[in-house]
Amino acid sequence: MTEFMKRLLKTPQGAIGTFLVVLVLAIVVFGPMVAPYDPEKLSPLARYKGPSMMYWLGTDQYGRDIFSRLLIGARATVVMAVLATIAGTLIGALIGTASAFLGGRADELIMRTIDAVMSIPSLLFALLVVNLLGSSTVNALVAVAIAFAPGMARITRSVALSVRKQDYVNAAIARGESSAYIIRREMLPNVIAPIIVEMTIRVSFAVMLFATLSFLGLGAQPPAAEWGLMVSEARRYMHLSAGILIWPSVAIAIVAVGFNLLGDGLRDALNPRT
């Protein structure tokens, strides 16, 4: 494990990605405790303030402290994205493994159907599902998870199939190992790695998808401090103060870039050959 961490931190992507993701997770855990102000407290006299000692990142259109809102909104934004990605991966991995295991015509049918589902853009799919279930944060989570599942199924299947054909699996079969041993000790470790890499990168897409759903009025609802909602609310007031638009955008970018870099770093660290 320590050797793995060393490999991860040796590449610039891995080091910066790990730093950003740890930073974001720290904000998710400790953010609400250290936030200097109540994120929903309105101060009509302190609207559109620029950054100052009192308000580090300034205030928004209602005089709410932007820094506090970002610290507290991290949970709504990041935790939801991570949960949705995990759920989507689990569903996808299940379908993908089943398809690879069944093989033959069942595999063909499942994959053709997955292809068909993927021909609906994931944003549109999420829009339809949220509209079906009603707009709320939890429903947005379900929508994103369902929208991610087909892509993850494809990846899991192709990884599982290619691992199955490897010499070390055939060697284990020739050695007379049990199926359980082969799946657990030979196949699983090699299947999980690429899926974790893909999952890490997808978290950044989930953050963006959530933000976009909030922007279209189908995700988090005001006065929540979800970052995508903050950006979309700021659009009407951006002429008065650019800060209310810029800071939540920066926060989204940090999360997206962080998970992207970490994903690339993990890929390099898990593949010592290349």
């Binding site: 609906i120 853009p121 944003l123 279209l216 979309s232 951006m238 638009l245 810029i246 870039v257």
Partner: protein
């Protein structure tokens, strides 16, 4: 293949619009309609038939080119959707064009100068490109280029046939916003493909034969490295269509994405069904063409 895809999509779309808590009859007659009037309308619209029968009727009409009547406007859905699709396709083609012009050279430069400053700059660009969702980049772009610098109009759509220059100036920001994420993705893919190809034996053989670097790159490496780009671009069309929805909403472009958002918000079932079906068909057709193009360019692949 396309037929199966569209059949599955039509089933999904029909299922979702059936579960949607919207009663077409109530929507057309209003909340205060008498139960008798509602029943009569349901009967004429065929809403009292079993679901599978409704699906079969709907599908039969779609096959014949009749996408139904909008509950919101009372007009046929098909013509309005296809007119909107035309505007969206213009947006999409311009975005793909801009993306190809920028992403392929960027990817090639990064691969040739691997590990050098040029490579790092390109990967920096590609990380920045995937950092923000379209609605954020679009908003920032409007703030910068329309509000502060006053170079371009903030929103709106002018048909190119009405006023070409004005129409183009309205399309610059939307096209740039849509292409950013695509440029980031495709340039990375081109780079990694080309890096792989440059390490193969036939490239080494060509170099050892005494061919110049530029010649090897043009004649051997690029041909093989750029082929997979066709598939990647075709798969990215799904992402592109999603981006089109958001960008049309922000820049007030009356394309199919905007039609769909309006239809979803108004629970206009026939319009939702038609819009999703058209989008899925666009994606499938593009991928079908990409597969054929790939097989045509790469003689090693034979489709049965």
């Amino acid at each position: 293949m396309i037929v199966y895809t569209l059949l599955v999509v039509s089933l999904i779309v029909f299922a979702i619009t059936q579960i949607l808590p919207a009663d077409a009859a109530v929507m057309m007659l209003g909340e205060n309609a008498t139960p008798e009037a509602l029943d009569a309308l349901r009967q004429t619209m065929g809403l009292d038939a079993p679901i599978w029968q409704q699906y079969a009727t709907w599908l039969w009409h779609v096959v014949q080119g009749d996408l139904g009547t909008s509950l919101r406007t009372g007009q046929p859905v098909g013509p309005a959707m296809f007119e909107a699709l035309g505007r969206s396709l213009l947006l999409a083609f311009l975005s793909i064009g801009l993306m190809l012009i920028l992403a392929i050279p960027l990817g090639i430069i990064a691969a040739i100068r691997r590990g050098k400053i040029a490579d790092m700059v390109v990967s920096l660009i590609s990380y920045a490109g995937v950092a923000l969702p379209e609605f954020v980049t679009a908003t920032i772009a409007v703030l910068l280029f329309a509000d502060w610098m006053k170079w371009l109009p903030p929103t709106g759509y002018v048909p190119l046939t009405d006023n070409f220059l004005d129409g183009i100036s309205h399309l610059v920001l939307p096209v740039c916003v849509i292409s950013i994420i695509l440029i980031a993705h495709v340039s990375r893919m081109v780079r990694s493909e080309l890096v792989d190809v440059l390490h193969t034996d036939y490239i080494r053989a060509a170099r050892l034969k005494g061919m110049s670097r530029g010649h090897v790159l043009r004649r051997h490496a690029l041909r093989n490295a750029l082929l997979p780009t066709i598939t990647i671009v075709a798969l990215d069309v799904g992402y592109l269509l999603g981006g089109v929805i958001v960008v049309e909403e922000i820049f007030a472009i009356p394309g199919i994405g905007r039609q769909l958002i309006v239809a979803i918000q108004a629970r206009d079932l026939p319009a939702i069904q038609a819009g999703v079906l058209i989008m899925a068909a666009t994606y499938s057709i593009v991928n079908f063409i990409a597969d054929i193009l790939y097989a045509w360019l790469d003689k090693r692949i034979q489709y049965d």
